[in-house]
Amino acid sequence: MSSISVSDVSMVFKTRRGRVQAIDRVSLEIPDAHFACIVGASGCGKSTLLNIMGGLVRPTSGTVQVDGRQIHGPGTDRGMVFQSYTLFPWLRVRENVEFGPRLKSMAKEERRRISDRLLQEMGLADFARAYPKELSGGMKQRVAIARALANDPKVLLMDEPFGALDALTRAAAQRFLTGIWEQHRRTIAFVTHDIDEAIFLGDTVYTMTPRPGRLREVIPVDIPRPRTLDEFGTPRFGELKRHILELIIEHENRGVSQTAAAP
């Protein structure tokens, strides 16, 4: 049982032009084995929120708990995957996957067993000895996911992991991630600005609105699993998409009218 919860988290950045409230009192709880997607326009603070959950950014106020225990920085209980390719270029694929276990001075055979299994699952067994530069973008992200899973984290935090991929690779990666998740049943927080992606992947979609970043609405995705590409055409999918779009656009329009009213 692994849940992650965010309690009353606010984040204020001090910039040259004054204070910017990036996140305003956000609270949410992602239950065990739950796939939660956080959507919002760029600049709504969703990435910052994820970094706070990862312990990389200290919130101005509020706390984050994993299984009810407050976190104080990054830890192996939360694996992270970012949009940018963050593989260590000087390490081969296998060494990248084994990075976490190695830090714990795990025995070589055991490390190898873990990386063998993960590379197999990710369809990368033939690339164990390749350097990251020899991989395509989609493969790089698969290695990054394997590297995060190698630590056997309680929660997986993903920040637009497929944002840099082209549409086709991206669709494949989404189906792939669903498969992985159905196998591992990990608690996942997945940040994206792609509404289709959020509905296709998530059990729940959290919408956020910017300036200040607030949680707007929590939408349960009642589309049964396993989900296939056909879901994109179903009426339910369309309804959910329109609803989420409205939540975000409503806010955008308000922003525009405010700007227009300004002298």
Binding site: R78, G79, M80, S84, T86, F88, P89, F99, P132, K133
Partner: protein, 247 residues
């Protein structure tokens, strides 16, 4: 090949364009004259000894600069305390021309090897350290962050991420730095030396032997190209994973 042609073309075309004095073989000897005197210098005048003397000074001066500058640079780029302590001094000294130190260094170390090496050290160590500090400070933050999320301690981040991520940039800057070493060495040898390429240039100038001067300068150029090739090979050999290395 094109480069050689360009050089030849220049020696032929420049006089026609009326570049002052270049039509006079005394001021700009023809390539074959230079080649002949280069051969003579090696065959009869012990030029190899001078080349070796200079190369040895470069080697020692550069090695000492790198041996201190690389760890210090990485430490400055990685740890804020070290940065606060060293960076201001090094940044200030970097602006002082190494050649201006030569008279002082002669008083401190005499006119022999120590002084030459000290000139190279002052000319290379300070800028090299700052460049390497920049390399370490410029390691993508994402790499460091991901290491933390994978359970790395600060120390592990330093050894397993910052250091390996810095090496290619370190080698690049060493390649640049060794070029400065040649500049400062020749300046030092022009001021006071009894051997070395700079010494040969100065003696030749006293006897108006422009062909020898040019031959000596070309020798430096060739040594530079060889050094560059060595560094490029090292890069290829040490960093097969780099995007720049294709195979």
């Amino acid at each position: 090949m094109i480069g050689i042609w360009a050089l030849v073309a220049y020696t032929r075309v420049a006089p026609a364009l009326g570049v002052p004095n270049l039509h006079n073989p005394f001021f700009l000897p023809s390539p074959d004259t230079v080649a002949k005197s280069l051969y003579n210098m090696f065959a009869h005048e012990g030029f190899a000894h001078d080349v070796w003397a200079s190369t040895r000074r470069i080697g020692l001066g550069f090695l000492i600069s790198a041996a201190i500058g690389i760890p210090l640079g990485i430490a400055i780029g990685s740890f804020r305390i070290v940065q606060a302590f060293f960076e201001p001094i090094i940044a200030a000294v970097r602006y002082m021309p190494a050649s201006a130190f030569i008279p002082l260094l002669i008083i401190w170390f005499g006119i022999y090897e120590k002084e030459k090496i000290a000139v190279i050290f002052i000319g290379v160590f300070f800028p090299l350290t700052l460049l390497i500090a920049d390399v370490s400070a410029g390691i993508p933050k994402e790499l460091v962050n991901i290491a933390y999320t994978l359970g790395a301690s600060r120390w592990q981040v330093f050894w397993r991420v910052l250091l390996p991520a810095s090496w290619p940039g370190v080698l690049d800057n060493m390649r640049i730095g060794i070029g400065w070493a040649w500049t400062y060495l020749i300046v030092a040898e022009l001021v006071a030396a009894s051997s070395g390429i700079g010494h040969v240039i100065l003696s030749a100038s006293r006897f108006l032997q422009t062909d020898k001067i040019i031959a000596a300068i070309i020798t430096i150029g060739i040594l530079g190209l060889l050094t560059d090739a060595l560094f490029r090979w090292l890069y290829w050999f040490l960093f097969p994973y780099s995007e720049r290395v294709s195979r």
